[in-house]
């Protein structure tokens, strides 16, 4: 078991060597997919919409409403940026499920770039809206002693944003790897135990028979019993294969269990983290862009 960062495919030998990593490839692929989808969906719009256009319009207005709810009506124009962030993050996490590509969000370079981007936007907007001096003065409020703390919290904002997203996705990957490793070890141990002699196989078959056949009268064996029985049969089969030397150390326990983990870490966590990341970005940016002051009515 070794846990590493993204694989470097090759290095372009200019500018002192540009490494093309798994992240770069996935990121490029995500960009291409999103752009293609965007262009295809935004094409051939009609006043009388077809099915696809209805769905597109619904999605666009839903996300626009979401952004204007979270950021205020005056910040609607941030919707494309937030959407780009959200979709890049979501698809970047989900692309890891293909098994061919690595999740872009499992690389700190990606999440840190997005976080710094958001922070830069915040700072630029703040300076634009309230002026450089007022913005700088804001760090020494409410009292002067707080200045270092304020600066640290301002820096902590992108750092926490980046590490939260990275940590969740990469941590999920690490846990999945570890579970695979553990399951492989467990199945090897089980096979050693069962496949050491015919006694083990007979015991397993007897257990399977008990699970299938012994039950109260007039009642079918329950679902869990049947699954366990099938597992026992499979165990006996792999034991025979191990004993006869046809296939040794089949990591059969790796079937099934990681699917549940993948469902959680890839699908659920990917969605939640994409949502959290874009929601926090929205909140930070909307803090930097307060609603325009009400003009006194003359």
């Amino acid at each position: 078991m070794n846990i590493t960062g993204p694989r470097i495919y090759f290095i372009i030998p200019i500018f002192g060597g540009i490494p093309i990593t798994q992240t770069a490839v996935s990121s490029f692929l995500v960009m291409v997919l999103l752009c293609t989808a965007g262009v295809l969906l935004g094409r051939n719009l009609k006043k009388r919409p077809g099915r696809m256009q209805v769905v597109t319009e619904k999605g666009v207005s839903m996300i626009t409403d979401l952004v204007s709810d979270a950021m205020g009506e005056h910040n609607r124009h941030w919707t494309p940026y937030i959407t780009a962030l959200f979709l890049s993050s979501l698809l970047g996490s989900l692309i890891g499920m293909t098994g061919i590509f690595r999740s872009t969000t499992a690389d700190l370079s990606t999440t840190a770039t997005w976080a710094v981007m958001t922070s830069l936007i915040c700072w630029y907007q703040s300076i634009k809206n309230i002026g450089l001096w007022t913005w700088l003065k804001g760090f020494s409020e409410p009292i002067k002693v707080m200045t270092p703390m304020n600066i640290v919290s301002e820096i902590a904002q992108p750092v926490s944003l980046a590490f939260r997203h990275f940590g969740n996705v990469a941590g999920g990957g690490v846990i999945t790897t570890m579970v695979y490793w553990a399951l492989s070890g467990a199945s090897a141990a089980l096979l050693r135990l069962i496949g050491s002699g015919w006694i083990g196989i007979v015991v397993t078959l007897v257990l399977a028979a008990v699970l299938f056949l012994v039950h109260r009268k007039g009642k079918q064996p329950g679902k869990i019993r049947r699954i366990l029985g099938v597992m026992m049969l499979a165990l006996a089969l792999f034991g025979v294969l191990h004993l006869t030397g046809v296939l040794e150390n089949v990591p059969f326990l790796q079937v099934g269990v990681p699917a549940v983990l993948s469902l959680y870490f890839d699908c659920f966590s990917g969605l939640i983290q994409a949502f959290v990341f874009s929601l926090l970005s929205m909140i930070y940016i909307s803090n930097a862009c307060p609603p325009p002051e009400e003009k006194p009515e003359s």
Partner: protein
């Protein structure tokens, strides 16, 4: 050559690629998805609003026209009733006048007829006087068997007629 990066590490080139990709996705989504879709939604909204406005306008216009027609119809009805009653009055007046005129005319005719009758009677009396005087003269001639001279004859006839006229 192949290798692996650190698990936790920052690669500036990857960061640059990510930044470029994010910016590209942002621009493409904005230009090709959000702007056209929002424009389409707004356009449709505007069109629907216009249609509703037009319908509302047409309805209010129709209401106005209907009220107008109703008012005009009522006016026309009252006007026609007025005209009819006026015509009736006029007709009554005219018939009264015609009747009165007819009565006057009849009266005049009757008066004229009376005068005519009187004149005719006078003429008839005169004619009868002449006839009678001639007969009386014939009778007198036969009686006296001679011709009187004309002066005597005139005198005699006058005297006779006077007597007779007084008797008549």
């Amino acid at each position: 050559m192949e290798g692996f990066e650190n698990f936790i590490g920052l690669n500036p080139w990857t960061a640059l690629f990510t930044l470029c990709n994010l910016v590209i996705v942002f621009l493409i989504l904005k230009k090709f998805l959000f702007q056209p879709v929002n424009k389409m939604i707004d356009d449709r909204q505007r069109e629907i609003d216009e249609l509703y406005n037009d319908a509302a306008n047409a309805k209010s216009e129709a209401e106005t026209l209907r009220a107008d027609y109703d008012r005009k119809l009522t006016e026309a009805k009252s006007a026609s009733a007025e005209i009819i009653s006026e015509a009736n009055l006029e007709a009554n007046r005219r018939s009264e006048e015609i009747l009165r005129q007819a009565r006057i005319d009849a009266e005049a005719l009757r008066e004229k007829a009376g005068v005519d009758i009187a004149l005719e009677r006078k003429r008839a009396i005169n004619e009868a006087k002449g006839e009678i005087s001639r007969i009386a003269l014939d009778i007198a001639e036969k009686i006296v068997e001679r011709e009187l001279d004309s002066a005597d004859q005139e005198r005699l006839i006058e005297g006779f007629l006077r007597d007779m006229g007084d008797q008549l």
